[in-house]
Structure formats: C-alpha cells, structure tokens
C-alpha cells in the first residue's frame, strides 16, 4: 500500500483506528455503512437468486430523482429517497406479466421506468440551480454527511426489512427457485413478488444515501454473487455474503478517509469486484481439480 502518500496513516494500527474514529462523522459513517452492508447483502442475495438484477438497478437509480426532487422542494432528502423508490417498485411490479413470462417486454418497461426517473432527476436538478456538486454526491456517494438522525432511521428501516425477509424467507426461497411448483403448492407467488420488490425499494432507498444512486447496485449484486460462487448452500451463502459486504464497506470507508480526494464509491466497487473475481478464479480452479479427480 502507498503508505507514504498520506501522513495520517502509520504502521501503528491502534493509532490508525484512533484517528479513524476521532471524528463523529466517521463514527456515524461506520454505523450507517454497517447497517447498509448487512441489509444490502441479505436482500441482494434474494435479488441475485430471483434474477432481478435489472429491477434492483433501476430501483437504485430512482433514488436520485427522489433526492433531487426533495432538495428542489426543500424537504428532507429522506422522503424523496423512500417515496420515489417505493413508487418505482410498485410500477415495476405492475409491469410484470401475470403469468411470469414475457421477460423481454418486462425489461423494456423497466428500462423506460429507469430512464424516465433519471430524466426527472435531471429536470429537478436544472430547476434547482447551483446544485451541480450535489449531483456527484447523489450519484456517486458521500459518507461525510451522515447525521445521528439518519443512522436511527437507517437502523429502524434495516431492522424492519430484515424482519420482513426473515418472516417470508422460506416461501420466498421456494417461489424464487421454482415458481410453478410453489404456486401449485399454494404459495402466493405473485404477492410475494410484489412484496419483495417493495422490500428491495426500501433497501436501496436506505443504501443509496451512503453509496449514491449509481453504486448501490455494487453492494446489492457483488457480495451475493461472490457468495453464490463460493457455496451452494443458502444459509451459508447468506452469511458469507453479509461478511463480504461488511468487510468491503469497512475497508472502503477507511481507505476513502485516509486518501481524501477519491470517492468512496470507487473503493467500494473495486474491493467488491476484486472479491468477485477472486471467487470466480477459486471456483474455476476447484472445479478443474474436481473434474481431474473424477477422471483419475
């Protein structure tokens, strides 16, 4: 590591930690980051399993017009994030064909929702002059401004989402793996699908306040994708995804703090992607070893 690049960083880890948490904003960033990482990993795992990456990405981007609109109207960005993400989740749920087929038309609809939402965000930004620096932090994230109040809201929202996921985990898993059989067994597949999209919307609304709208998706998709490469067992994969997500977030926050000009989003995505590539290489190597062993 380029230790000489910054005078703050030393070989004394305890001293580094003391510096890291010397400011209240950093403590808050770590609190918020941890909550966000856990919730994103759990919900993201189901998202990856259900192949709804595109819907998740769209919901994530919708936070941007929400926040921009709220700033323009002069209300708290929190309302904008949650209001817009929930509305978009219901929109996407409405576009989904009842029989579960017709993916390509559904994805065209999702694409339209996404582009229109972003266009609205641009409109709000241009109506509200002098907001240009805000655009960057809305899109690419900033951990500097997390208030105590936001941490409390995130904690409540995160606990609510996790409780809801825990409550519907079994039927959701069933409905995600085999919707036809699940429906035949009396699982309310369609209602679960709508409910899951709403949970996804709430999650990204919370997460995007830290990571920015463009990079929420990194936390949602990469740790679960990495975990699924490492283990096929659902419960273990959830634990692994959460662990990866938390470690990546902590590392990214620390590095972004010690090397100030670079955006946190860059480090977050880079660490998560490095983990993903590493897991893919590990998986490939172990597959080859197994097939060699089988051949021998």
């Amino acid at each position: 590591m380029a230790l000489a690049a910054d005078a703050h960083l030393s070989w004394n880890l305890a001293e580094d930690m003391r510096q890291l948490f010397a400011f209240h904003f950093m403590v808050n960033a770590y609190r918020a980051g941890t909550i966000v990482a856990v919730v994103a990993a759990v919900v993201g795992w189901f998202m990856v399993l259900r192949r709804q990456a595109f819907a998740g990405h769209t919901l994530a981007l919708v936070g941007f017009p929400g926040a921009a609109g709220a700033t323009w109207l002069g209300v708290s960005a929190l309302w904008g994030f949650f209001g817009f993400c929930l509305a978009a989740a219901l929109c996407i749920a409405g576009l989904r064909p009842a029989d579960g087929h017709g993916y390509s038309e559904e994805s065209a609809g999702i694409g339209v929702v996404q582009a229109f939402a972003l266009a609205c965000g641009f409109l709000f930004v241009s109506l509200y002059h002098g907001f240009l620096n805000g655009v960057n932090s809305l899109l690419f994230g900033s951990f500097l401004g997390v208030t105590d109040n936001q941490v409390v809201v995130l904690l409540i929202v995160g606990a609510g989402v996790l409780a809801a996921v825990a409550g519907m985990a079994r039927p959701l898993l069933f409905a995600s793996l085999d919707p036809d059989v699940a429906a035949a067994r009396g699982v309310p597949v369609r209602r679960l699908s709508v409910l899951f999209l709403v949970l996804l919307g709430v999650t990204v609304a919370g997460v995007s306040q830290i990571t920015g709208s463009l990079l929420v998706f990194a936390l949602l998709v990469m740790p679960p994708a990495t975990a699924q490469l490492l283990t096929p067992r659902p419960a273990l994969a959830l634990v692994v995804a959460t662990a990866i997500s938390v470690v990546v977030t902590w590392l990214a926050l620390a590095v972004a703090y010690f090397f100030p000009p670079s955006p946190i989003g860059f480090f977050l995505t880079t660490f998560a992607f490095a983990g993903y590539v590493g897991a893919a290489a590990f998986r490939r190597a172990s597959d080859r070893r197994r097939s060699l062993a089988a051949a021998a």
Partner: protein
Amino acid sequence: MTALLLAQSAGLAHIFGHAYMRNAFLAGTAIAVAVGLIGFFVVLRSQVFTGDALGHVAVTGAAAALAIGVDARLGLFVGTIAIGMAMAVLGRQGQADDVVIGSVFAWILGLGALFLTLFTRSRSAGNGNAGVSVLFGSIFGISSANARVAVAVAAVVVVGVVLIARPLLFASVDSAVAAARGVPVRALGVLFLALVGACAAEATQAVGALLLLGLLAGPAGAAARLTARPYRALWISAALAVAAVWGGLTLSYLAPRVPPSFAILALTSAFYLAAFVAGRPRRTGSRAAM
C-alpha cells in the same frame, strides 16, 4: 440563454432560424433512427440490461477521456464498443449473464466516479459541467461539425443493422435452429453488440449516458406491443424514436426551462405507456396473423 428566451417570444415560426436548433434536429434525427432500429433488436433479444450497462460504460469512457485530456467522443466509442464486444464474447451464446453484467459494470462505474473526480479537481470550477453533460446530454451544444459526424456514424449503424437484419432476426428468435442452418449466431451476437456500443456512444451526446436507455427501450418496447410483425415493429420503433426527439426538441424550444433530454425521455415514456395500455395483451394468437 438570452437567445433561448428571445426564441421563445418569437414563437415556433423561427425554430429553424437558429444554427444550434438545426444542428440539434440534424444530429437528433440521425441518432433517433439508429437507436430506434437497434433498440428493436435489443428488446427482441432481451438485452435491455446489456444496453443499460453500455450506457454506464459510456460514463466511464467519457470521464476517462476527459481526465487524460483527449476528446470525450474517443473515450465514448472505444469504451462502449470494446465492452460491448467483450460482453458478447464472454457470455454464452453471445448473451451475458445478468449477474456478471451487473458486477462488471458496477465496478466500471466506480472507475468512472474516480475519473470524474480527478477531472473536476484538475480543471477550474467553470468546467465542472462537463461531467453533468456526459451524464445527461447537451443536444443544444452540438456543433455543426459534430452533427455531421453524428449523421455519418448513424448512417453506418443503420446500414449495418439493415444488412444483418434477416439473419439477426432468425438468430434472435431461435438461435439453435439458426445455428443448425449455418447462421453464424455467435459472430452476429458480437457484431450486434458492437453496433449497440456505437449507438450508445452516439446517443450519449444527445440525451446523455444515463438516459439513452429510454431511447433504446421505450420506442422498441412500444413497437413490440403494437405489432407482432418484426419488420413493421422495426420501422415503428425508429419512427417513434424520431417523433420523440422532434417533439422533445420542440417542447424544450418552447419552454426553455425544460431540458431537451427530459422532454425527449418524457415523450418516449409516454409512447411506451400509451402502447402498454392500448397494445395487444397477449402475444400468442396474434402470431398466427404473420
């Protein structure tokens, strides 16, 4: 800005009296035709998410070019075409997996964030708008030389699509049978994503990297709901895209506070919504009418 306000008071009659308006219409029309045609195949092949990813790659390409100080368009074209072809080559059957696409472009976007930060810090505050215009487009800022380049690139894309339309349609609808009949399915997939990449780079100049998805998916999605005939849908898609661009430019000319990108996207969304409500509810059955 004053020119815009004067233009408004002069009314619609003088809309083509302004050079920036003529350039915007020229480039906008060319881009709309190309994106509309490409969009039809993007929707047909269920590659909307890939198109989305290429739009985000465009952010990084342009930001990287700005950060190292070369023309943003170079970064746009190199970035989107290279990543588009890489996606086609790496994916099975020329189609990449959602999760792989998502992981790759999330990281590329993180790189884009870094480049944008480097760029905005290295320049004076007055130039900080360049990042925003990459993200959301600046069609009124297109020079006449840029408009001619846009027309030339769009012409290449349109000719490319028309040339491969028949085999591509076959390969998209039933790739296994097409492969058995000797259609080079994989090569077509790679070529197609290269064209999508070129299109994405073009459209970034008009509506911006974040909004080109609407122009790609909206008209094509609407066309797919209006007719089951592929060639008819292809032309409807192009026509709707052109209508959205013309209407959007006119709206933005009449109401200068509304950015042209928003007006264009609002129209494509309206078209899609109208087609969604009015269009045929089921694909099966109407297929027999082909």
